[in-house]
Amino acid sequence: MPTLQAIIASKYFERLRQSKDVDAEKIAQLEQLFAFGKKIKVDELVKVFSAPAGNDIT
């Protein structure tokens, strides 16, 4: 029987994939962090969320 932690993680990424706010690359990086088994550091997450430069002025 999967642990509650595993169930939450699985449903979390399922929901995240349907989200427009987080792109596939970021989700893949997050999945790696979650799967690593170590405590996730804030810096690691900030690095994942930080995006390349956006659009120019319009």
Partner: protein, 805 residues
């Protein structure tokens, strides 16, 4: 260890009760069992125990320097494995128990137990679940359900979201400064492409350059200028406007982040006035860093080896728990520091613009003044990111974070004068430098827009990741709490079926909080502390604990320590509590302590425990530890004391034992003791009626046997009666009222040679009340209208009812 010198208890794999007055050592037994199984002692952790530790306060107070001698040895039976094992844990090495046999399955089972300190529940733990703020309750419940990992992930996602938001605010400040710089130069009200192109095309026309009809990412406003100098472009009118804008912003600096600075100073002052809080905060930062650096079973701070990484993490987690107030202060400090950081970033961006002007005119003094202020602000920003840094800049903050370097005003005035006195640039040069500067500022603005957009994307991603996690976590926890709340309601209804048979409860998790409401006599849902009595709150705490343990362990919930947890529950509901444990937790062994003698007896009459699986402490001394009322080794204790010529000690032990046996036999035989409202029966109140009652019963048994022609029964009953009559001790008891010389109050004044025969006589007397085969105390049944005198093994079974005539 703790309050116990040396104590052996056989729990017999069954639910066990330990009763005794306050301070008699009951909780010491709980501490010992908990320590033996988990390596922890709950009473030495949690709120208000900052200065306590197992190493220093685990051993007996007279042996604090000998932690190696303080140990607990438990023989444990694991039903799932059908195996028994012994675990020995020393205070000197709480993480390294000795397990025999060294069977991997047994070792794993012990490790699992050690991972569950929640097997011990004390009354103060109940408060953790019931009368606590929702966010704290969520932490406690998550801890008991081993949901810390989920909570940690939520917390780290939240921290990342906050960090990304803080970065966004800084980028936004830089964006506003770049935008303002561009607008000031271009003399347009807003960054609209048409306005930008119009301002640029006016100069381009003057220079005979083709007009720009669109602004793409590659468009240069100064495209076509043939003599673009390597020198920084300088446009006099634009410079004057920049200087005016700078002066205006400077006036507003004291108001920027004013509230944040006030809050920062207050927090820093709190730390200065409370060194303990500061220590806690320092330790917190250190422990937090340590937690992040853990990679294996070695402490990343001191390199000490630990039994496992989990033990090390648990140890540090407990330390963090102890500094919640410090955590709140830390959060406030860094929130306000972040606001000040943003204000400083905006001003620094504006200084960067002015610095270019100084460079263009080669004004070294002004450039140096700007550089000096820039360095000071950069240093200030650096200090805003650490606790020590913040404490070090309290003076700076008090005098104004924006304090102007001494030379700055003078250099600014001089520079402004120099710019004003420059000859007006020709229309051509003005147009050229205007376009060059415009291009540079547009590039800066574009960069700040890109950074701002990137920050927006990061904020959206971080917020989405966090809120999604919260949503999923809450939904799952809600399902889990549904299970828990149903079990909780069932358990509580069972205990209170007479007056709250329709009881319901609601556990509602949301964003790290856990609201808990209960139905009050069908009048609606309210927090537990709102209307329910203390007794009801006690039962709620135990029920919630049991529901959580059921969810956590399922069928593996085999052992729990309940330390005085139902003291406020009234008598009627206690029977129901026994019923709950017997029906819903029949495979769980509970060790239950209580200071309430009535409650201890109720557990027996409800069949939750038996005489064999209950223990009563009489009192406690620092030299002996808990003193048991029923002490099978009392005769050895008396002999040892007499061998050392300590008649007083022997006399006290004998009296204590006689008091226990008399009380027990008065109950077992239904003796007619004169009632005392305070329950403070002395030996004199108990033993004489017990003897009289026993003689009557023996006589009745002999008569009954005679009436049925039962010669064997008659012989046995007569022998028992004769043995009692022949007892010197019985004779002494009968003389207590008339002969003070043999009264028990005088025993301690006896000589050894006089007391030894007294002790022997009472030992023989007490043997009259026991079965020689099974050594259990005799009892009559049924108690109120006895028809037989029996023992536990039925070797003694004397009929008390005569043949009807």
């Amino acid at each position: 260890m703790r309050g116990i010198r040396n104590l052996d208890i056989v729990f017999d794999q069954k639910t066990f009760s330990i009763s005794g007055p306050n301070g008699s050592g009951k909780s010491g037994v709980i501490d010992a069992v908990e320590f033996g199984l988990t390596g922890r002692i709950s009473r030495l952790t949690g709120t208000g125990t900052k200065t306590l530790s197992i190493a220093e306060h685990g051993p007996h107070v007279d042996r604090v320097r000998f932690p190696d001698a303080a140990l607990v040895r438990l023989k444990v039976y694991f039903p799932a494995l059908n195996k028994s094992a012994t675990i020995t844990r020393k205070v000197s090495a709480p993480k390294k128990p000795k397990i025999e046999p060294a069977d991997p399955a047994i070792k794993a089972a012990f490790e699992q137990l050690a991972d569950h300190p929640e097997i011990a529940l004390s009354r103060r733990d109940i408060v953790r679940f019931i009368l606590v703020e929702p966010s704290r309750r969520a932490e406690e419940v998550q801890a008991i359900l081993k949901l810390e990992e989920i909570g940690e992930k939520r917390a780290v996602l939240n921290s990342a979201q906050n960090r990304v938001n803080a970065q966004k605010r800084t980028v936004e400040a830089q964006f506003h400064a770049a935008r303002s710089s561009l607008l000031t130069h271009m003399q347009i009200p807003s960054v609209k492409i048409d306005d930008l192109l119009a301002a640029a095309n006016a100069r381009r026309k003057l220079l005979g350059l083709s007009p720009l009809d669109q602004l793409t990412p590659d468009t240069r406003l100064d495209a076509g200028l043939t003599s673009i100098s390597s020198e920084p472009a300088f446009n006099k009118q634009s410079a004057l406007r920049d200087l005016a804008a700078m002066a205006e912003t400077r006036k507003q600096l004291p108001e920027l982040a004013k509230d944040a600075v006030t809050a920062l100073l207050a927090a820093i002052n709190t730390l200065a006035e409370d060194p303990a809080l500061l220590t806690s905060l320092r330790r917190r930062s250190l422990v937090e860093q340590g937690m992040e650096l853990i990679d294996g079973a070695h402490c990343p701070l001191c390199d000490s080896p630990w039994e496992s990484e989990r033990h090390l993490r648990d140890h540090l987690a407990i330390k963090l728990e102890k500094s919640n107030e410090a955590q709140r202060l830390q959060r406030d400090l860094f929130t306000n520091a972040s606001l000040l950081d943003q204000a400083a970033s905006g001003w620094l961006s504006q200084l960067t613009t002015i610095r270019r002007l100084a460079a263009a005119l080669k004004d070294e003094a002004f450039g140096a003044a700007i550089d000096q202020w820039t360095r000071q602000l950069a240093a200030l920003q650096g200090n805003l990111r650490s606790l020590d840094g913040l404490r070090g800049i309290s003076g700076r903050l008090a005098s104004g974070w924006h304090v102007v370097p001494q030379s700055f005003d003078e250099a600014t005035t001089s520079f402004a004068k120099m710019v004003a006195e420059l000859p007006d640039q020709t229309a051509t040069v003005d147009a050229q430098t205007f376009l060059s500067t415009a291009q540079m500022r547009l590039a800066d603005f574009r960069e700040s827009v890109r950074a701002d957009k990137a920050a927006d994307i990061a904020v959206a991603a971080a917020t989405g990741a966090y809120t999604t996690y919260c949503d999923v976590m809450d939904a799952e926890l809600e399902a889990l709490y549904d299970d828990v709340q149903q079990d909780f309601s069932t358990f509580y209804r069972l205990i209170n079926e007479d007056d709250e048979g329709e009881f319901t409860a609601k556990l509602s998790p949301s964003a790290g909080k856990l609201d808990f409401d209960v139905n009050f006599y069908e009048r609606g849902l309210y927090p537990p502390g709102a209307f329910h009595s203390e007794g009801h709150q006690d039962s709620m705490g135990v029920c919630l604990y049991l529901a959580l343990m059921k969810r956590l362990f399922g069928n593996q919930f085999s052992f729990a320590l309940l330390d005085d947890v139902v003291m406020s529950v009234d008598a009627g509901h206690r029977y129901q509590f026994c019923k709950l444990l017997k029906t819903h937790f029949k495979d769980t062994q509970f060790v239950i302590t209580t200071h309430d003698r009535t409650w201890a007896e109720q557990m027996k009459s409800a069949g939750l425990v038996t005489g064999k699986t209950s223990l009563r402490f009489h009192s406690w001394t620092i030299d002996t530890g808990p003193l048991m009322e029923s002490n099978v080794e009392v005769w050895d204790e008396i002999k040892t004391a007499l061998d050392k010529n300590k008649v007083g000690v022997a006399a006290a032990a004998l009296r204590r034992h006689l008091e226990y046996v008399s009380r027990h036999m008065a109950d077992q035989l239904g003796a007619a003791v004169v009632f005392r409202g305070d329950g403070g029966y002395e030996l004199n109140d108990l033993l004489p009626p017990v003897l009289a009652r026993f003689k009557t019963i023996c006589a009745k048994a002999a008569d009954a046997a005679q009436s049925w022609g039962n010669d064997k029964g008659k012989t046995e009953a007569t022998a028992l009666k004769t043995k009692l009559s022949a007892s010197n001790a019985a004779s002494s008891v009968e003389q207590w009222a008339i002969n003070k010389a043999v009264h028990y109050n005088e025993w301690e004044n006896f000589e050894k040679r006089d007391f030894a025969p007294v002790a022997n006589a009472f030992r023989e007397l007490l043997e009259c009340f026991r079965c020689e085969a099974c050594e259990s105390w005799l009892f009559v049944t049924p108690r109120h209208r006895p028809i037989s005198l029996r023992c536990a093994c039925d070797t003694v079974s004397l009929n008390l009812e005569s043949k009807p005539k």
